[in-house]
Symmetry: C2
Subunit: 572 residues, 2 copies
Amino acid sequence: MAVLLAGHLRYDWSRPDDPANDHLIFSKGHASPLVYAMFRAAGVIDDAELLTFRKLGSRLEGHPTPILPWVDVATGSLGQGFPIAVGVALGGARVLRAPYRVWALLGDSETAEGSVWEAFERAGHEGLTNLTAIIDVNRLGQRGPTQLEWDTDRYAARARAFGWEAIVVDGHDVAAIDDAFTAASGADRPCVVIARTRKGEGVSFLADKPGWHGKTLDAEQTKQALAELGDAPSRTFEVRKPAPWAPPGITRGRPQLTAYTEPLATRKAYGETLAALGAARGDVVVLDAEVSNSTHAEDFKKEHPDRFFEMFIAEQQLVAAAVGMQVVGLVPFASTFAAFLTRAHDFIRMAAVSRANIRLSGSHAGVSIGEDGPSQMALEDLAMMRAVHGSTVLYPCDANQTAKLVAQMADLGGVSYIRTTREKTPILYRADDDFPVGGSRLVRGGGPDDRVAIVAAGITVHEAVKAADELAGEGVKVRLIDAYSVKPIDTKALTAAARATGGRIVVVEDHWPEGGIGDAVLAALAGSGELGLRYRHLAVREMPASGKPAELLHAAGISAWHIAKAARELLP
Amino acid sequence: MAVLLAGHLRYDWSRPDDPANDHLIFSKGHASPLVYAMFRAAGVIDDAELLTFRKLGSRLEGHPTPILPWVDVATGSLGQGFPIAVGVALGGARVLRAPYRVWALLGDSETAEGSVWEAFERAGHEGLTNLTAIIDVNRLGQRGPTQLEWDTDRYAARARAFGWEAIVVDGHDVAAIDDAFTAASGADRPCVVIARTRKGEGVSFLADKPGWHGKTLDAEQTKQALAELGDAPSRTFEVRKPAPWAPPGITRGRPQLTAYTEPLATRKAYGETLAALGAARGDVVVLDAEVSNSTHAEDFKKEHPDRFFEMFIAEQQLVAAAVGMQVVGLVPFASTFAAFLTRAHDFIRMAAVSRANIRLSGSHAGVSIGEDGPSQMALEDLAMMRAVHGSTVLYPCDANQTAKLVAQMADLGGVSYIRTTREKTPILYRADDDFPVGGSRLVRGGGPDDRVAIVAAGITVHEAVKAADELAGEGVKVRLIDAYSVKPIDTKALTAAARATGGRIVVVEDHWPEGGIGDAVLAALAGSGELGLRYRHLAVREMPASGKPAELLHAAGISAWHIAKAARELLP
């Protein structure tokens, strides 16, 4: 990292948003002391801040997060930073034609993650010459030796078989590393520098010794270590700035949406709206995992092939690339079957920690897909996506609604998700109807004499329409609510429905009973105080940071103090 | 597959549970017509049943599931069958010393999944000579060409770099395939047969043509195809039975649990209980993803190293191997940080479709882990695990409770999950207390004059104890419920608490607000009719199969008919 900082990285530390800056991603996020030491060496943090490491309120969390302006994405779940780096490189090479280079530091242990090989494959296939990976082969994982230990040739053979250039170096030989970085930058394909290292090199009682992972030194050990290393004063390195470069001008107009009048699958409306968005906005990019003819992302591909990314059947890389592309200001939509987004759950979770703005589309939701059977039916995606911090969860039932929601997603922050349906569904709404995020639609009823409320979304709205009309024929007035915004859900409309009907509510969803629309409806009603309950729900509502366990329980609002306070507030 | 069936597979079709049988796993589950054709060729299904393919009520679903006795596991989410096959092979080689061979058929497209390389790595590292993989390299994915098309040498180079033998064959040359299978069975390492094939071979208008994935032929096309193929009468093959073999006798006693009196982390109690279970039962196996010194699975490893499996940092392979091991009757417990189980969400989802009995342990849950920061904090695991069909979700707060719950998990069916805590927690319970699945514990209060109820689990129970004791000092009687069984949750106790306190309930959990204990509590109360609500929740409650969309909506109980019925039932 010293060689990189002093001789190869091009970065203007005073302007972390400079689009010409290189990107350095620590896929081995647990090496946070190293990345923070680099920031210290670059002169952007001082010794006092360095000593706040892992303390409550510090920017220097246990693993790096983008609350630091020089950190692109959060890492710490292994095998994620590297595939995200592939996304940053892809966006730079294929959309922005940017001069930056992407550097990714991997641990050797994390090459056990399949996602690392999805990334090798993607970058190799795309020929990303603007990407350099560095593997720190120190042969020691958290609890013992790695599988390949110091078999650097084996690492190199694997990388080459995936279409990469590979250079093996002694990771303590700075001249060899310097040469390797120079060669990597000039290679005709992505290049990985495989560095054989000794963990704890330079300190006799640490070097290549197991049992030190994540441990700190006591005062005596610190003294000895500094004596062995040479207790030199902190140095600041001069880092070369990138040559001035401005990204191409990007249009950001409003899309011309289609007015739908005939039954159409919402997945098809998704694809057509993406194509319209792509025409209006140059920053929209679309990624799909080898099912674009099913998700209908292919409608975008046909019109904007230069901004479509085929990720093949690699859902982790799909989401990681989307996260990487938003790092450089692009507006990614990533799609696959909703069931297969579960493959990328850890990446979606981490995208929230990264404060990333990504848009996901899951098609073929629920039992209504039909003959393909349960392996292809998403029945847990709403639960998964609701429990993502700051997420938005949308589930349209007709093509006009889909178009309006997809158009809004382009401007949403955080992780947003749209669930689409395989089957054609009737048109319920007009093209000029509005569907704000957080809203709902009254499909039937709405008066004070409604006797029962039905809450549905997506495919079940159409079943509920049939049921409501049947009940109307029996003289029963039904209030039918289309809860297309599953998160945030329309608490006001639900509360009013509960009030009007004396609390008679049917929720119907094409999803397992847990974590979906039913749970969302109950949480909204309980929170509004509309139920018989006087309910307080203490849970983690803001993104946590580092700190002591007791401090974090308190900061999250789930400590004894908060519990006692909530209980007192409920007393008559 | 014809060569395999006629000459290499050892299988007694009349005794699918014969422990000596080979295992054949279709990792490319969409080739279900092929596996069903094999069953027809083996004579265990007839033409009439074959023609029920993908129809409601048929055993022949769109993708294979174990409702057929000759199918080990459900496939259809690509890149899963192969890592599961590795688990079957590992269990056979290292625990049972079984004579069976495991055959896995992969599609070329699915090698884009990182999980496939986790499986290559695991099998190569373990030297699983009882495993043969076959890759059908037909160069066509669902929507177009694969990345490597017919570059079979590249596939071979990758496999060899991961420690495998690789044989490239013409996939239409039966003699070459026969030789390859013979060689594979005699290799000194796992062997992959890389078969270059033409999709639709033998039919001029299909062979190597894109656009036919998942399509059926019309009557005229069928006639032409049969004419070209030669419309031979159905044949039945004689399949060789395995040599008689009985598995080693396995002890299945009751574990001697430790009586805990001093504060201890529940993760540590988990590890110690596993070790006790391992001593009592020979069928218990433990897997961990390179964090056994944190999850404390290492306590089992130390005493039963022969039944401990280090899966390194590959959570997909971790869960897949557990699924594979339960195929052959073992009782797997798989552990990692709870946050990283999200990496294997798709595998957990599919384990439920497989009707697999696996036990998962997630340590380091919630903000209470402290300094490591949000990347390591599971705040969505309860939502993920609740929304798994047939799952059990447990969250103990002390060591004695942990021991009792872990011991019970060994006998649970389906997917069960225990969430453990990093920090030491006080001992609340006695070693002879019982903690049945589906129950709860009254920690404070319980009388008719309780004024407010607090529902907690795990780490927040201890915060709630402090709060309850503080409130008691203020003269406020609190009913504190430890909801250690999050799913199924103790509806009876919750209903009683709501009734006693006039519906004053505080739920506190170290988890995002969505999908966790709060949602579980509300769903229980709403379902019991205890709230002001007259609530009906229609959702998918049984594992779906194949059928037409309208049939499946009806079968799942979420059709217009069910909605109208539920609404009518709510009317006064």
